[in-house]
């Protein structure tokens, strides 16, 4: 397809990308505000509510997305790309806004978590249908030899959606007190409400779009698929391609993506114990610097082929994840820092004592904020059991260093380490839309490419934080043990992809 004038393709990319960006924003604000959402809608002490919380987190991210891919993929191959991804946008925007207006558990009881769960499921379904539509739509407009470059703009939206959601949350949070932000009708709801405006604009723009020229042509010729699901997954020729797309490319891409952008943040927050703001701004800066590389690698894939760029991204992740994450731990190890740096100041400790029931002993928690000469700051939290009998020395239950703040040089070093990981993301993710589009025929493309994409990203990728954390709870595990999951999955994918995928670019996606 080379008939699309460059201004036309610019409009196509802009209107497709804007909607996809907003869908990612909607999806991520739920995850980024998960802690507040759980206290507002899923109080821990309530068994049913906690159960629904697990369902909301798991079901939406890991089960519903592939179903959304099937439902909307089928629709996209039956009625067209334009109306299908218009529908996913309305569903996503509407459900996001509605999550923001549901009263908390205190006001409406168990209805609050039930409604949130239902809306979260709708979000997952909509996201499952959106990406395949946008990627297919842009690719089917793109001129020959530039498909990787044009679809890479769609690829930037997932990362920019995360950037936008983190940015909006940080701005909202910094403009009010902590109490105002966390209250039942507080500032945490504003990012949800903002969604309705963004979606309104995007719907207006998308309504003006035309149907994909390739799909229109098929429709005119009466060659659209009567049953895209059956054709995609029952017909052996197509099923073969769906399987190789999943196990030879998307599975590895998914784990590289979620490790670089989500596990990195979770690791900085829960294992390194960086403070709330720094753990997020490190990611924000890294994303800002790395995002142009999606387009670069998309462009490069038009010149040198898609396969080896994606395989190189996986290989680099496999080889360097452990040294990178070890570095996060080494640079913030307080015991090591204290051997090389002097303490600049120590604030008065905050002591909290709680009586142990049915005993005269107490649990004493001492929090001591400390700054080092090099600018490093941390809070030392010790928990001791203090016995009523003064002749028995207190027993130390735990000692932790929390809310660490990095000095400038280490802060930028961390940004570099996260940037490197997101660079791998750009290598595996930049070319993948063009790669998937070229793998499947037009009449079943939306269905066929959506399912492996959402299994690879939703299941293999989406489970990275959960499985990696689970592995660290195994006997003998270290904080780095969780990395074996993404490394293992990427290694299997690298071997399969290197052996079985072709590096040849399919010039003609009309067939």
């Amino acid at each position: 397809m080379s008939q699309q004038p460059s201004s036309g393709i610019g409009k196509v990319i802009f209107s497709s990308s804007l909607g996809t960006l907003i869908e990612w924003y909607d999806f991520y604000i739920f995850g980024s505000l998960a802690t507040i959402i759980s206290t507002q809608f899923f109080p821990e002490e309530q068994g049913t509510a906690a159960l629904l919380s697990t369902l909301a987190i798991f079901a939406a991210g890991f089960i519903v997305r592939p179903f959304g891919a099937l439902v909307f993929g089928r629709l996209g191959d039956l009625i067209g790309r334009k109306y299908t991804f218009l529908l996913t946008l309305v569903l996503m925007g509407g459900s996001t806004f509605l999550i923001g207006v549901i009263p908390g558990y205190k006001s409406i009881g168990v209805w609050a978590p039930i409604l949130v769960l239902v809306l979260r499921l709708v979000q997952g379904l909509a996201l499952g249908g959106e990406y395949g539509g946008a990627a297919t739509y842009v690719a089917e407009h793109a001129p020959v030899g530039r498909r990787g470059f044009f679809t890479s703009w769609i690829q930037t939206t997932a990362t920019l959606g995360l950037f936008l959601s983190l940015g909006v949350i940080l701005i909202t949070k910094s403009s009010m007190t902590d109490e105002a932000f966390k209250s039942e009708w507080g500032g945490w709801r504003y990012p949800f409400w903002a969604s309705i405006l963004l979606v309104g604009v995007s719907i207006y723009i998308r309504l003006k779009m035309h149907e994909s020229p390739l799909f229109s042509k098929l429709k005119k010729e009466g060659k659209t698929s009567a049953n895209p699901l059956k054709e995609s997954f029952v017909h052996k020729g197509n099923l073969k391609m769906v399987l190789i797309a999943l196990f030879g490319a998307v599975m590895g891409q998914g784990v590289i993506w979620y490790t670089g952008q989500f596990y990195a943040q979770s690791f900085l927050e829960t294992k390194v114990m960086l403070d709330f703001e720094q753990s997020r701004t490190v990611i924000l800066w890294a994303i800002a610097f790395a995002t142009p590389f999606f387009v670069f690698f998309g462009w490069l894939s038009d010149k040198v082929g898609r396969k080896w760029i994606m395989m190189l991204g996986m290989l680099l992740g496999i080889l360097t994840y452990r040294p990178i994450y070890q570095s996060f731990l080494d640079e913030t190890n307080v015991a090591t820092l204290l051997t090389s740096t002097e303490v600049a100041s120590t604030e008065a400790p905050v002591v909290k004592e709680v009586a142990i029931p049915e005993s005269e002993n107490i649990v004493r928690t001492t929090t001591t904020p400390t700054s080092l000469v090099n600018g490093f700051f941390y809070k030392e939290v010790t928990v001791d059991t203090v016995f009523a009998d003064a002749s028995i020395a207190p027993v130390r239950a735990s000692q932790n260093f929390i809310e660490k703040r990095l000095p400038q040089s280490t802060y930028w070093y961390f940004i570099l380490l996260v940037f490197v990981q997101i660079l791998y993301v750009t290598m595996v993710y930049g070319p993948i839309a063009a790669f998937l589009v070229e793998l499947f025929p037009t009449k079943i493309r939306y269905t066929s490419m959506s399912l492996p994409y959402h299994i690879g990203n939703g299941v293999f990728g989406g489970l990275v934080p959960f499985i990696a954390t689970l592995i660290t709870t195994f006997k003998g595990a270290t904080p780095l043990s969780g990395l074996w999951y993404p490394i293992g999955v990427a290694a299997v994918c690298l071997v399969i992809g290197s052996i079985y995928l072709t590096n040849k670019i399919d010039e003609d996606v009309m067939d």
Partner: protein
Amino acid sequence: MGPAAILFLIWQAYEKVGLANAKVAEALTEAAKEAAKGVALNTFLQWAIIIAVFVPIAFGFVIFGKYALQGEYDHLPESSKEIEDGV
């Protein structure tokens, strides 16, 4: 690897759900027992979801392995017609 993955998942689920249930039995007070029950239920649910999602994928992996061994991927189709002819 597909069958090994399925067995590993089932073994892990059995072990982790068992551990969570053991904690319910070990809980000394009623309050601790209730809390441990909630955790056990959540652990069961999490593993049920993981198995429901990953076992079909592992079956897909088995089918992929079968096709690969049969040489189905020695030449990848270069047109839709080739895919459709691939029965």
